[in-house]
């Protein structure tokens, strides 16, 4: 049995996407085993009222336990957390989520940049950022910040994405550690924590 501390030290995997991001997750998530040791956070830009069932939809695609995030919820290793609509999602040092209703960033709330930047600040080199399909450039600057603190970053291959702008912006903005199809990104995440 690992101690709570050791588990937390495994870090945090943050996955962001927008248009086409759900389809990418449908292929990525099944690659992760039920006992994947890290906490995984999934953030999709969502229609303001329409996305309450995203956690249920995703739980049919992954063997990991899925949780919708509420303010102050603890970050538990081995769980997959889903960002709620209409709030920004951030992280606190004491391994808890924080939500806020600050103004949208480049029209997006939740914003991938806000999540990635906050994760990079708290988890430092133990942060992994993945940018999936999407039609905006949200996430590119956050990816760069994760890289700057020594974390790992990956982008969906634009050829496999219905929204090419987002992953391409990631690739153009920073040196990414992995570019691949959603399945390949899933395999890559899996072998990071065998």
């Amino acid at each position: 049995m690992k101690t709570k501390r050791e588990m937390a030290d495994l870090g945090l995997v943050c996955i962001g996407g927008s248009q086409g991001g759900f389809e990418a997750l449908e292929k990525l998530l099944p690659q992760l085993p039920a006992d994947y040791p890290c906490a995984v956070v999934v953030l999709l830009h969502q229609y303001r009222h329409g996305a309450g069932n995203l956690p249920e939809l995703l739980s049919t695609r992954t063997a990991m336990p899925v949780k919708a995030v509420h303010d102050r919820d603890p970050v538990i290793p081995g769980h997959l957390f889903v960002a709620p609509a209409n709030y920004h999602l951030l992280l606190e040092r004491h391994h808890a989520f924080a939500l806020n209703t600050d103004a949208p960033v480049q029209y997006a709330r939740p914003s991938i940049d806000v999540l990635f930047e906050s994760a990079a600040h708290v988890y430092g080199p133990r942060t992994t950022g993945v940018l999936l399909s999407g039609a905006s450039i949200d996430g590119a600057s956050g990816l760069k910040q994760i890289k700057a603190v020594g974390g790992l970053v990956a982008c969906q291959h634009p050829d496999t994405a219905s929204g090419k702008v987002m992953p391409q912006a990631g690739i153009d903005t920073t040196t990414v550690d992995k570019v691949g199809s959603p399945q390949e990104l899933g395999q890559w995440l899996k072998q990071l924590h065998p």
Partner: protein, 274 residues
């Protein structure tokens, strides 16, 4: 110590400086969100370091007045979370009907959208005449806007859609008039509203409210401060009074110790048993 931890120290010292110089206590706000506000204010100021920004804040009160507006978040929306308003109409309003007089407190009312929203609901339910509504916030600038009740035409589209989804029974356009490229909410909606500054961190409870709206305010507070403020709010409610929180806020364990029970838990509406 890594650079992120050093930055945390700088932010803490900055908030400490504000508190000592001006008495505004942001030290116990939720670290992740207040850090973001501080760094955005730093970027806007053009200073390279928080130390420099701190010096300007300490020596220039007018600059601080502006900065305070940037540190608080006054973003709001009318009928945000329509399902909440549906629940309010169908389940809270029938209880409110049984009281001859209603006292309603909007804490952290920001630019007033929620206040006008509630006023509309009460009007349509025939309860407005017996209601006294208190609308408070920390930010004087937000309160000034709230009192004015003017909003841009852009957001009115969203408000209208929210109103309909939230169970509105009338025509939303009847509640405002076009003004200066935006809209002005009807004077009648604010007849029973008093707007004033109130700081949840340092000011007292005030009394015997039937409903308190504190939506998307506590998320900005750290755990201890949140508990303290919830305590203040519980003291401000009459027996059987309602506390309404934001969509993603839950009372959790604190509910029990403060004598709240779930009224409509999925809409974060709690009732004080006291």
């Amino acid at each position: 110590m890594n650079p992120a931890e050093v930055e945390d120290i700088e932010v803490r010292l900055f908030l400490e400086a504000i508190h000592r110089r001006y008495g505004y206590d942001l030290r116990d706000y939720a670290p992740a969100s207040i850090r973001r506000r501080v760094l955005l204010a730093l970027a806007k100021s053009g200073h390279a370091h928080l130390g420099q920004l701190q010096h300007e804040v300490l020596t220039c009160p007018p600059f601080f007045a502006h900065l305070l507006e940037d540190l608080t978040v006054r973003v709001s929306e009318m009928f945000r979370d329509p399902s909440f308003y549906r629940a309010f109409r169908t389940q809270v309003v029938p209880v409110l009907r049984t009281y001859p007089l209603l006292k309603i407190w909007h804490t952290g009312c920001a630019t007033g959208e929620e206040v006008y929203g509630t006023a509309i609901v009460l009007t349509e339910e025939g309860l407005y005449e017996r209601a006294q509504i208190y609308a408070t916030d920390l930010s004087p600038q937000a309160l000034a806007q709230a009192k004015e009740g003017t909003y841009s035409s852009e957001v009115v589209k969203t408000f209208t859609e929210n109103y309909q989804r939230g169970g509105g029974t009338g025509n939303f356009a009847a509640y405002y008039t076009e003004a200066y490229g935006g809209v002005a909410m009807n004077e009648a909606l604010r007849r029973n509203v008093s707007f004033f500054q109130h700081n949840l961190v340092s000011d007292h409870a005030f009394g015997e409210m039937h409903v308190i709206f504190c939506r998307n305010v506590l998320i900005y507070f750290g755990n201890d401060l949140r508990e303290r403020v919830l305590n203040t709010l519980s003291q401000s409610l009459c027996a059987g009074g309602f506390l309404c929180l934001g969509a993603s806020e839950r009372l959790g364990r604190l509910g029990e110790s403060l004598a709240f029970s779930d009224f409509i838990s999925e809409e974060r509406i709690y009732r004080h048993e006291n």
